[in-house]
Symmetry: C2
Subunit: 131 residues, 2 copies
DNA sequence: GCTTGACCTTGTAGTGGCTACAAGGTGCAT
DNA sequence: ATGCACCTTGTAGCCACTACAAGGTCAAGC
């Protein structure tokens, strides 16, 4: 499979695939005689793994570790679990921070009565002149 | 005021203040004879404005626009409001996306029963071998 | 056999919002 | 005179891509 085909099959863009190879999270595939990358199903599977993990917000160092762990079939999965749990915690913290922003923005917007800028409660809230 | 003092007063680090000057969202202040930046209260106020807006997640282009608008006292604040509303929408979308991640991660983690990696439901969910 | 077009190759630079140096200048106290 | 905190400029790094530029390869159609 050439890079374009594996890109279509896995949902990972060709440029991103080359980027993953440069970063060392995807093994470099063999080349055809015209120097095109020639992928097999194993690489496609790795790419799907990477894409799913990225969709769940895992970082590239996380994914590198998950990929290594996924090959050690008979070890305990404790490391996988704690990595996933740590990541879940981080996602929860990010949500909480965004909810604070959302609530503050909503309050700010609700107070504005579409007047002139000198009366605008949004600008007031941001500027030192407020309160 | 030298940069360190205004940094302490506004909660914006000196390096970040210089960065804002380079980016053109904070005016370059006059210099002392020894070439140190010499800030007055107006620049400090601008920095507090920027910091508050950043805390609410506004982007630097957004902030540039908010700063420009904040000087036009007698214009309507419609532009301010729509900018804030657009930003709120974006924050809400980000929260929704993170909640999807959170729920998927939680489900994945809950299914794992701390077995070997070949049985791990987390790895299974990511890999093609799943289902 | 020659052109067109889709695809592939490498390398480099840009995105956002900082942060972290490196290498040197200034100001004040001891 | 020495030390130390502070300031200056410039450059590079962070993350996960994305967007070129400039060129090579291959099949189809005329
Ligand atoms: Zn993580
Ligand atoms: Zn308003
Ligand atoms: Zn915004
Ligand atoms: Zn597990």
């Amino acid at each position: 499979m050439k890079i374009g085909e594996v890109a279509r099959k896995t949902g990972v863009k060709a440029e991103t695939i080359r980027f993953y190879e440069r970063e060392g999270i995807l093994n470099a595939p063999p080349r055809t005689r015209s120097n095109y990358r020639d992928y097999g199903p194993a690489e496609a599977a790795t790419l799907v793994f990477i894409r799913r993990a990225r969709d769940l917000g895992f970082s590239m160092p996380d994914i590198r570790e998950l990929l290594e762990l996924s090959n050690e079939d008979d070890r305990s999965c404790a490391a996988v679990d704690s990595l996933a749990r740590a990541h879940l915690d981080q996602v929860k913290r990010k949500i909480a921070a965004l909810q604070v922003m959302r609530d503050e923005l909503s309050r700010m917007i609700a107070k504005c009565e579409q007047d002139t800028i000198s009366e605008c409660r949004i600008i007031d809230t941001l500027a030192v002149r407020d309160r």
